[in-house]
């Protein structure tokens, strides 16, 4: 039973990550390989505050969200100058730098040793300790994130995001402040990733930089794309499928050492297959094709 709960909590965390990346990449069209960096920075900010200053959990959570939001705005800003594949490379660069900081700033982050002994979160006297309680907390955050995403994408603001994704020039000619919009949505997405980071850190009660690598970013991208970019439920479906996949593999009897690789081969292959035959993913609508202006 605990095992099932564990999977559900992980799915909840990845739903937050994928839905927030979906806002950035699926709705605003800014493909980013830096999501694991925000995931990690959020986790570290909250944990460090809790460990060093012993501030309450909710304060730490809020600080992580705000910090990553601002950082996201700063990182998203290059998107105003450089586009498409160059932007991907720029976010990639940020991802590597962030990892490098987490890994090498030993005096602050503990470096490769990570930060153990993260205390259980206490929210207005409620100590979140059992799997059930964590599931409630993560589920609550997940619901909040999905609700915010839903509000955003069904509003005129969401329509504007899609317009920017498909054709910036049209959006500008229609009076939309494309630059402000991109930075804003990047900041929101990063802030949401921080929520996932805080949940993850407190749930596992230990963090180290290896959870926040380029490969993790690629995994989150795969969830979004395989599930379907630019749709509310695509990333949710993607998270369920891809997070549950290794457990299924274990169930069919693959040794866990092999299962990890097989899982990656499966999702890498799925990514290629999606690009070949269904670039909009299982449920999505955005196929990473900018409005090809003809002659």
């Amino acid at each position: 039973m605990e095992y099932l709960l564990h999977i559900l909590i992980l799915i909840g965390i990845y739903v937050i990550l994928a839905s927030s990346l979906n806002l950035i990449a699926g709705y605003a069209g800014l493909l980013s390989i830096a999501h694991a960096a925000f995931f990690g920075v959020g986790a570290y900010v909250a944990v460090l505050m809790g460990l060093h200053w012993e501030t309450p959990f909710l304060v730490n959570l809020a600080a992580a969200v705000v910090f990553c939001g601002i950082l996201g705005g700063v990182v998203g800003a290059p998107g105003l100058r450089i586009r498409d594949d160059y932007f991907v490379i720029a976010t990639f660069a940020f991802q590597v730098i962030a990892f490098s900081v987490l890994n090498n700033w030993v005096s602050l982050t503990g470096g490769p040793m990570g930060l153990p002994g993260i205390p259980q979160p206490v929210i207005f006297g409620w100590t979140v300790s059992s799997h059930w309680e964590f599931l409630v907390l993560t589920g609550g955050c997940c619901a909040a994130v999905l609700w915010i995403c839903h509000k955003i994408v069904t509003s005129p603001f969401g329509r504007m995001l899609k317009a920017i994704r498909e054709d910036e020039v049209f959006a500008q000619a229609a009076g939309k402040n494309v630059a402000a919009c991109k930075v804003l949505v990047f900041a929101i997405g990063a802030a949401m990733a921080a929520v996932a980071g805080v949940m993850y850190a407190h749930y596992i009660s230990f963090i180290d930089p290896t959870s926040f690598t380029v490969m993790e970013s690629i995994f989150i991208i795969s969830i979004v794309i395989i599930g379907g970019a630019g749709s509310m439920w695509g990333p949710v479906l993607g998270a369920v499928v891809l997070v549950a996949l290794p457990e299924v593999l274990r169930f069919v009897g693959l040794p866990s050492a092999v299962a990890a690789n097989v899982r990656q081969i499966l999702y890498g292959g799925a990514l290629v297959a999606m690009m070949m035959w269904r670039p909009q993913g299982l449920l999505g609508e955005y196929a990473f094709r900018k409005g090809e202006a003809q002659q």
Binding site: Y86, N104, V258, N261, M276
Partner: protein
């Protein structure tokens, strides 16, 4: 100390150069970042490992076979994935995502086959290294610098002199005009992919002679290559030389001030700075901007 840093930088630059030349070539004909290059780099190293350690061929022969093997992997990717995608008018982002997927698959196949632990083809006895301007340089390192230089010279000459080189430059310069001039653009892309992948594999081989190999080794090498290629100006081979040297110097000389672990961060800070302030690099032409 200082001259040792310079020597180290030179060795790093030679590996960057080989990888970056491949990336730059591939990007300037295909117009997307070929992420799976990272896997091709590791493929090169592991092919040598298989041929040398498992089959027992001499190192030099293994390397000579491994490089074209890497090229063949690039060829297969082009034929199986990228060309069909291009036929469907896929944009650079779709191609990039597909190549990320291909990287994940290839890297994990290697992990399955060889394990995640590092493997080595280095000569077992620790070499003293030859004295060189007050620094020490090993034989293997000398060879790797020589190979990089030789490849660069061959590449540049082939580009300027041969018919194929000219065709490739024509496609880089203006693909549409190249096609109405009777050039089979798909064919050019195919063989440029082969050459670029061969360079990547060679980069992997050189690196594995200097340090050990892991299935993920290609990522760091690819990234350094991307930085060198962007800094030098995509599509300009002389620029790539400059970029590789610049990056290697920046990384190694900075170890005067801060610890070596920060080399990746430095490389990427340089990349970010260039992407934001001078995306065309030292020698390149302006990258496309939004046009109305």
């Amino acid at each position: 100390m200082f001259s040792q840093l310079l020597v180290n930088a030179l060795i790093a630059a030679s590996i960057y150069l080989v990888v970056a030349a491949g990336i730059s070539l591939a990007y300037s004909v295909t117009r997307f970042f070929h992420f799976a290059h990272a896997a091709v780099i590791a493929c090169g190293a592991y092919s040598v490992f298989v041929l040398h350690v498992w089959v027992g061929l001499p190192l030099s022969i293994s390397a000579l076979i491994a490089a074209p093997l890497g090229g063949a992997v690039g060829l297969a990717l082009e034929l199986l994935i990228y060309r069909p995608l291009r036929r469907k008018a896929a944009g650079p982002l779709v191609l990039l995502l597909a190549s990320i997927g291909a990287y994940v698959v290839l890297q994990n196949v290697m992990s399955l086959a060889f394990g995640d632990a590092s493997r080595s083809i280095r000569p077992t006895s620790v070499q003293e290294g030859l004295p060189f301007l007050g620094a020490r340089i090993t034989c293997v390192q000398l060879i790797s610098i020589a190979v990089a230089l030789a490849l660069l010279i061959i590449l540049l000459t082939a580009f300027v002199r041969t018919r194929w080189g000219k065709m490739a430059r024509a496609v880089m310069s203006d693909p549409e005009l190249a096609s109405v001039s009777g050039i089979n653009v798909d064919g050019v892309i195919l063989w440029v992919s082969f050459v670029a992948s061969m360079l990547a594999a060679t980069g992997g081989i050189l690196q594995s002679l200097d340090v050990d190999m892991t299935p993920t080794m290609g990522m760091t090498a690819l990234l350094a290559g991307v930085v060198a290629a962007v800094v030098g100006g995509i599509g300009r081979l002389p620029g790539v030389v400059l970029g590789a040297i610049f990056l290697a110097l920046a990384q190694h000389l900075s170890t005067w001030i801060i610890s070596t672990q920060w080399q990746d961060a430095i490389a990427f800070a340089i990349l970010l700075a260039f992407l934001i302030f001078r995306p065309e690099g030292f020698m390149g032409k302006k990258v496309r901007e939004t046009t109305v």
